[in-house]
Structures are given as structure tokens and as C-alpha cells.
């Protein structure tokens, strides 16, 4: 049972160039490279950590943000435990697209109840001087969309990165505990739910 919950799949989604790969590299390798290539398709890295006394392995999935990589990316949403929706605070459009990302994830990951699924919103690049998105705007959006936690991060100077990922782990564990205690059969239901019903939720 411990083994089952110890591998947590966390997926990073968001427009191309907002810094998903940089966030992952910063968190796992504690490195930053300003000239990273576009991610192609899907890649992942593992990071072991201890949250509230529990050892878990975060499997962090980095995805290609460009539209043309959509078909390479979407098959791997399934099985995610947590989704990190990422935008750049210097890029208003990337913030506006968060809703689309959320929908895309919910659809392909076959999430039964997107409202209770642990999304975390990351506003990256706070080291950049010219912001196009204010903290308030984002918080409002989070509130309107189900009260997702919001972190303002900088992969470049490591601000809030570890905190964001640890929060992701914490949320997943909390949810798993709830399911384990309250509805042990919920896992099965989730899987068996026909796809058409998830469409209604969107």
C-alpha cells in the first residue's frame, strides 16, 4: 500500500516558453539554462522527497507546450495525480490560455471531477521586470475556477520552486488519504466511468 502511493505523477502543462522545463530542471537538478530547446513530446524526471514524514517519488512530467506537439503530449495525461498549470507572468496570453489547458487536461486525463482534481497554478518568471499579469488577476482566476493554490515562481533564481512541487505532493497525498478512508472503491469507479460522462463535465 505504501508502495502504491509513493510514486506520484505530476504533470506540467502550459504554453510553450513559459518555463516548464526550467522549473523541472531547477527543482530536480537545481540548475538553470536560459537557452533550453523546446521540449518535444513528453519527458519526465523523478525526484524523491519527504513530505510530512512520508517518502514519496515525484514523477514530474514535462510536456511540449506548442500546439503542433499536441498529439504527442495528450496520450500521457492519463494517470496523473496532479497537474501544474503554468504561465509566464510576462506573457498575458499564456495566462489567458490556462483555461484551455485545464480543459485539455481534464478531457484527455479522463478526470471525473475536474473541480476536485488537484490543479496547482504556477506563475513563472517573476524575476522579469515587465510583468503583464498581476498577482490579483491570477488569484481571482483561481478562486473562480475551484480554488486552486497559486505559486509565483522563478526557475531562474529558484524562488518558490520547491515549495510548489512539495505542495503538489502534499495535495495528492491528502486526496489519496481521503479516498482511502472515505471511498475505498472510488478508484475503480473513476476508471470505469464512461468517457461520455466526463465530456458533460466540461
Amino acid at each position: 500500500m505504501a508502495a502504491k502511493s509513493s510514486l506520484l505523477k505530476v504533470i506540467l502543462l502550459g504554453d510553450g516558453g513559459v518555463g516548464k522545463s526550467s522549473l523541472m530542471n531547477r527543482y530536480v537538478s537545481d540548475k538553470f539554462d536560459a537557452h533550453l530547446f523546446h521540449t518535444i513530446g513528453v519527458e519526465f524526471l523523478n525526484k524523491e522527497l519527504e513530505v510530512d514524514g512520508r517518502r514519496v517519488t515525484l514523477q514530474i512530467w514535462d510536456t511540449a507546450g506548442q500546439e503542433r506537439f499536441r498529439s504527442l503530449r495528450t496520450p500521457f495525461y492519463r494517470g496523473s495525480d496532479c497537474c501544474l498549470l503554468t504561465f509566464g507572468v510576462d506573457d498575458a496570453q499564456s495566462f489567458l490560455n490556462l483555461g484551455h489547458w485545464r480543459k485539455e487536461f481534464a478531457y484527455y486525463a479522463d478526470v471525473k471531477e475536474p473541480d476536485s482534481f488537484p490543479f496547482i497554478i504556477l506563475g513563472n518568471k517573476i524575476d522579469v521586470v515587465e510583468r503583464q499579469v498581476t498577482t490579483e488577476e491570477v488569484q481571482r482566476w483561481c478562486c473562480d475556477n475551484g480554488g486552486h493554490p497559486y505559486f509565483e515562481t522563478s526557475a531562474k533564481d529558484a524562488t518558490n520552486v520547491a515549495e510548489a512541487f512539495e505542495e503538489a505532493a502534499r495535495r495528492v497525498l491528502a486526496l489519496e488519504d481521503r479516498q482511502a478512508h472515505v471511498m475505498p472503491s472510488d478508484v475503480v469507479d473513476l476508471r470505469r466511468k464512461p468517457r461520455s460522462s466526463s465530456r458533460c463535465c466540461l
Binding site: A3, V28, F37, E43, L45, T57, P75, G79, V188
Partner: protein, 1034 residues
Amino acid sequence: MHAAEMRIVPATQEPGLVCCGGGALFLVSAGGCKVEVFHTQQEECPLICRFSTMGIVHSIVYSQIGDYLVTIEEKNGATYLRAYTNWRYQAAEKKRVGVRLLGHLMRGQALHGTPKEQMEIVEIPLSETPLCTACCSITGALLVACAKSLVLFSLKRQSLNDQLDALDFERLLILYVSGWSPSQVALCGGYVAMQTELEVLVVKLENLEKICASDEEHMQLRGDVMAAAGVTDADGKKEPQSPFESDDYFVFPKHLEMLGDKAKDCGVSLTLEWTGMDTEANDNMGVTYILYRRFAPDFFQGCTVEETRLHSLQLHPMYTGNPDVSSDAENSDPACMFCFFSLPNAGYMYSLKNTVELISAYQYPEKAHQALLCNEFLHVITQNALQCFSVRCSAVAARVEDPYIDTTMKACPPFTMEVSALRIQLFIGLKSLCHDGNHIVLLTAADIETKEETERATRRSIKSKEQNSMAGIFLAVGINPTTSPALESFLSRSFLSKKTSVSKLKEPSESGHGWNLYVISTVSTLQLYREMVEYSKRYEQTSPLSQNYVHLLSEAHLLLRASLLCSPNTDRAKIQEAFQESCAHLGDCFSRLEKRDCHLALPYYKMSGLSVTEVIQRNVAVCRGPAPDYGNGFLFFLKHSLYEETMEELSEETANTVLEIFSKAEPGQLPYVVSSSFMKNANPVCVRVHLEHLELSGAPSVTVSLCKAAQALRLGDLHYYQQQMDRHAEMLQVYGFIEEPKLLVHRRGKAMVPTELARHLRDTQDGLLVAAVVALHENSKVKLEEAELFFQELCKDSAESQSIPQLLVDFWEALLVASSQESIVQELLFHLTSVYIERIMCRERSGIKALKTAEDLINSCSHYGSLFPWLNILTPAQFNITHDHQEDLQKLQSLLCGPTLDVSSIVPLLEQLPDEDNTGLSVHMLCATKLGQHENAIEKLLDRCPHAIVSYANHELRRDKMALWWLKLFPELCERIRLSSGDNGVLLTALKETLAVVAMELNPVEFLNLIPDDGTAHFFLAHLLKCSQKHLLT
């Protein structure tokens, strides 16, 4: 050195699943989300890399082709099938791992940009939940079994740059299996094996057209779907698969074995759907049933289903040929394919190629958890022991590879030979077993409740483990150590000098966990071979009557064969050497046997590379004593070696030994033995004594007399020689030579070596010699060319100046008289004609008389015809040439006069023969006549020898040539007479003779028309009158 060595893998977590291959060992930690990879080939089994999987691994399989791992994983309640490729790049930790869907690589390489050296996971979506997987060791293809179908994926490689390959799979086909969910599958070179708890089915996927012709009902093509025979509805099995699901009564399924084509009636129906890109291949696909087996739990013995559950299904290919040489073995079709599966108490190995048959059945002494077939052994684990059995793969493969096996040339122990338990090693709590090259990997784990106890017991077990593993217990089947003092002492002796590295490592009891993972290097083939030989010797000493030592030596031999066939090997030369030694041992065994299989001594000794002398020494050494008793096998070997003329010349001592051996064991063979060229160093006095002894014992014969005569020549005792030769008539002596041709000739490869006796006969009794060789030829003891070689060799140092010795010509003539074979006759005619022509042309003669005169030949055989009368005019008997010359001329003329010689075949030879004199002319005339060129001949004869023309015309111008009298001869004569001035008496005489004939043949009008206008009337009148009278009469 490859001593049996045991190492402990430094894994940190308890392994759940284990698999290995390609020099790597893969462990899935018991939690199931992490794979650790270790080197199995290196001393301390160091870690190669460690990577996380994407879910909890339920099954893991490695494919050496493509170097990929395939897993069935579960995450959040969903099951996934994934292939891990380029995993070796994970050696650098914290590297990003690429993930893609099946098929996404090939579609757009452009998407991939610059290739990255990273591990890639290919996710393979399936419509059903995967149950188990298997990889093809030849192609790297992947077979996935689901509840209702099997899906076959081919492996695709795309080279991204020089070092980097990207792998992908193509979904080739789906095999729907009705009412049958395999618990295990195997795939190898088109063969697909599947297994449920109590059933095994093996089919072959192959080109449809091959089976279409033979069995249409078997396989029908319907669009994209091909349905195999059997019942097609999902649950429609002919017999219930399991009796336990029926509420009302039990149906006891019977044991069933269906081989080859018969397996299609097994009731498991298969439908094939082609899903590959290449739509043409679709038409060529088909399924052939190969093997079906069903077992039933024996309820009366109190067995439960659990105790009768099949496991360890395996397909095992075997290639033949030197693996060091044939590098493309991977791509070629394996020579053999074996299928193995196991019940808890018995294992079965089938050969699937050529004929499908059960090769070996193994009876395990206790319940087996898992079994693993490889080229040289079958490894089996039970609760507490690793057992090693012999296998018959190499015995099957040897026969596929070499058609000479099971002949007098080569031998190999039969694959029906009972298998043996070779070795047992004790372990506590064996859980799983896998195999890679010369390593076996064993996982042991104590059950949770007994863990503490196990840890206490570990020390004890390690001790007993050492004793057993190092002892290398070789048990020939059926030998119970406790009842066999030799074996018991052998076991207690132990090979204690052998060290394992176990002691160097932390012992399991100290590490404090109840599991361990061992890598055991299999004992090197050579070492194992030597130990088996050593043991067989001990066993032979203690119970020589039992033939178990032969069994053990045969096992050792097969082991070496397997090694030579399969593993590319650095010490191949050493194994080859041991192989020859093993052949020698087996030769020794069979040479001493009395009846059964004693003939095997011959091929084994031949394969051993031992000289006959060495073989004799080996056998003499064990048979010392006043009355040595040589085995039948040895005598069989000696006889064959002597008669096959493939051995070396024996020294005097050895040759005399051979004489002794046969004198005692089979005196009747002595004439043949002493005539062998390899025996020519034998002491002639000794030989004579043995032969006389043989005669005294009541076996006088022509052959023996001839043998004695030959020995007398060696001794220079001509008196004795003559005595022996005078004992029998020449005719009988010819029979003697037929019985033993070696009295006259020995073969050296293709050369024919005349014996001293033959040389002596050449000078004293050439008629007998020629008659004998003709008899040998007619009795198929020598071929014509061989006889020719023999005479050439025999006469090469004689004074004869001619290229063809007279004795050979005598032989040809004698054979022509004797032979009735058309092809031989034609060949002889050609030979003889050329010789005669050659001799006529060059008039020198050696003065050696031929055995037969022309007259003899004309009188004794039809090929030589009587000489035509006109030849006597052309070349009268007292011609101006020597007698010999005349003889040759007459023989040639006689052949040309005979019915057999095809003249057109010798025309080219005649071109060199001038016709300036009557000798040549006569021959040319004969040929022209035989070829139907009578007109030419007439002209020539009129030019050169007109007084023979009438005789010629009388003899030759008959029947259809009759008209030539008046059409050719008459006008020619008239013309020549007209042109001649004066002395034309010969021509006139001829003209008169001609007129006489013509007058009788033509009617008067024709005759009148023929008469020339310028002739004198009275010359013709008489003939005209005759002509008229004749006509009136008729």
C-alpha cells in the same frame, strides 16, 4: 577461469521481479516502481543504472535484440504496456526520460530534432488488458497476450546517428483465441506457444499459400480476417476445458497429445487479423497448428489443480554451424526449434521442426517451481534445490546439421537416450530463476512467517550449499548414491579445493534480510566435461558390467557438441580437442562391447582423430594377458579400417599384433588382413605361419594359397611361390583374386599401386594377370579407369617405348571379348582403334607379342568381324610389313568389318592416317564404305588398285547399292578405258565382270540404253543376249 562461482548481487531492496539478458540483470524492487540493473559478467556485479518505472510493474521481460525491456504496469487502477529503450543512458542519474506512443517515431522524424542520448519509453496502447508478454530472441518481436487475443508487434529500428538507434514497434497482427486465456506465452521465429493451467498450444505463423494447398478447411481467408479451423463461437470448445466449473457433475478431461497437423482438432480456434502496414503480407499469412497438449489433474492420487499447473513455457531455437563463423545467425532460420513446458513434477521437451516429437520427458524428484531450458542444460528450481539435468538439444541439432551422423563415418548419442540429473545444489527458499549466457540468477526469499527461522538456518545452509555446489554432483540417472559405494565416496570426496566467492561477501545472515540474489557462473564446459569423464572412469572401475559409464560419457560428449554448436567461444580449439578426446573415450567404450552398438566404435574412433596404431595400442593395453579377449567393436573397427583403405601403414610390431589379434579372434579374416597394404610391414615369416595355421585348421582356399605365394615373393622363396601357384588352376586363381583384389592392387587415394605379386605375374603369367583384372572389372571390384591406371603403373618402368603398354592393350582386347556393357564396349572400341591406328602409323615395335592375335579375336567375339575378301587383295597377308604390324592392321580392319564400331566416331582419328600406301587406303576405303560413300570408294579404288575393284563391287555393291554397278562403276570403267592408252587389261576384265552383273539385273531396254555409243558391238552383244535370255525366263 570459469570455476563454478557464486556471487551475491548487491541489491539494496528486496527484488520482486527479476529478469536478465545481454549481460545485465534487471530487478524490480518489491514495491514495483523502480528497476535496478546490474552487470552479471563482472566480478562484483556492479550497478549499471537505476531508473523508475511509470507504474507498478507486474511483469518484466527483456529482449536482447533491441536491448529493450517490456513491462506490464499499473498506475491508478489502469494497466499499461510499455517498452523501455536506450535504458543504458540512465547510467547518468537525473537524466530526462522521453515518452512516446507506439508509432509516433516513424511518422515524423522531423519532430524529433536533434537526437538526444536519453532513455525512451514507448507506450503501447491495447484495447484489452495485457496479461503476459514474450519477446522473440531472433527478431526482437514482441508478443502480448490478452484475455481474448494475442497481439504481435514487430520491432522497428531507426538509426538516428551512428551510435543511436531509436526503437519502435509495429502492430503486425492479432490472433484471436477463442475461450482460452493464456497464462504464459512464448514467441520465437514465427512459432507462438501459449499455455493455460493445463493446456499448451503451439502454432506457427507462416505464409498462407504453403498451407492453403494442403488444407483449405484449416484456414479460410475472408477479407482481412482469416479463421482457423475449430469451433468459431467464443465459448464453443468441443470439450469443457475445466471440470470444476460445472455444477452438476465432474467431467474428467483426459490427457491429450496432438502432434503436427492433428493438433488442429484440439478445439482451440484461432482467427488471425492482419494489422500491419504492408497489406500484401496479409495474403501470405496463415496459422499452422504444431502441438497441443492437455494434462489432467490426477484426482485419484489426491492431486489438486494447483499441483497440476503448467509453468515455464519456453521456445528455444538452436542454430547449427560454427557460431564464430556464421555471424548472421541472428537473421537466418534456426536449424532446430524446441518447446519446453513443465508440470510441478515433470517437464517436457518437444522438437518442433521437421517432425514434431517429444524428445525428452523429465521426472523431477520433487515439486518444481520453475524450469529453464538452455542449449546445454535444463535448470530446475524446487523449494530448496537447484537441479541441473542434461538435455538432448545438441543430439537433435547434430543430426540436422550433419547427414553423416548415424553412418560408419560419424556418430552421436541418440536423442532418445534417457536424460540424467547432473547436479543438485541446495538453497533455502528458492523463488525464481533466470539465465543469461553462462550465468544463472537465483532469487531466494524466506516466507515471511519463516523468515526468522531461515536466518538462523542460513549459516547451516551456506555450509551445505558449499559442500553440494562445489562437489559438482554428477548422478547418472538411476544411480542412487546410498546404494553405490563408488558414488558415495566420490561425493564425500568433494572438490573442496574449489573456492567460491561467497565467503568474501557479506553473508545473508549478517545482512539481516531474508532474501538473496545469487549470480552463479555455470561451470565451464571443459571443466564439467573433465569431471564427468573422471567420474565415468571411477564408475567403470567399480561396476564395469553396468553401462552407466557409457551413458555418462555420452552425456559429456553431447555437452561438448552443444558447446561447439552454440556458444561462440574463445577456447573453441580446446573444446574441439576435448570433443575428439570424448570420441576416443566413446570409441573405447563401444570397442569393448559385445553386441549392442559395438559398431559405433568405428565412427567414434574415426571422429577422434586417433591413428589406427593408437587405437590398437589403447585396446591392447586393456586386453593384456595370456588370452586377450578383444571386443567385437574393436574387431569391427579394425576390419573396416583395413578394408576401407583409409588408415596409415602399420609398423612391423603393430602389424604383427594385428595378425595375432585376428589369428585368435577371427582367423577367417586373415587372408584379407594380410593382403591389406597397411600390413605390408608385417613379418612375412610370421604371416606365413599364421596362414599355414589357418590352412591346417581346415580352411584351405585359393585365396590363402595366393596369399602364401605373395608372402613367398616377399621372402624371395620362389620355390615355395611356385608350389603355391601350382596348387590351383588359373581359372580358380582368378576367383581367388576376385575374392581379394588387394592381392594384386592397393589403392592410395586415387592412385592404383600394383603389388609385388602383380609385378611378378606381369613377367611370368601375363595372361593370368589380364584375366584376373578383367574378372575384377566384371565383378565391379575395379573401374575401367582404375584398371587402366593399374596397367600404366605396372608397365611404366618396362622397356616399351610406346605410350600405351601392350599389357593394357591386351586387357582392353580381353575385356572387349568379355564385357557386355554397351558403354564399356564403346569406350574400349575407341581406345583400341586409336591404339591400332597409332601403331600402324609409327612402324616401330617393341617386339612384345600381344596375348591375342587378330584371328583369336575374330573367332572369340562379334565386335571383330571377318575381313572382307577385297581386303586380301588390297593388303594381302604376306604384305611388305612386319608381322606385328600386320596383326594391328588386321585387328583394325576387323573392327571396321565388325558390326559394333561406330565409324563416324573414329573419323577424326583417321585424318592423321595417310592413305598413300595400301595399308592406309584399305582403312580409308573401309570407312568410306561403312559411311555409305561407295562412289568415292569406287573412284579411289579404280585410281589406286583397280584389280581389287571387282572383288570390292561384288562384296559391297549389293541390295540398295546394286544400282551403283550401272550408275557408277560401269560409266567409270568405260570412261577410264576410253582415256587409257594401251595397257588396260585390268580395267577391261573389270568391265566384263561388271557387264555380266548388269546384264543380269537390268531389262534389255535399260541395258541397251546403258551401252555406250562408241563401243564395239560384239563386245557387248554377248551380254545383251544374256540379259534378254534372263528376261525371257522371268
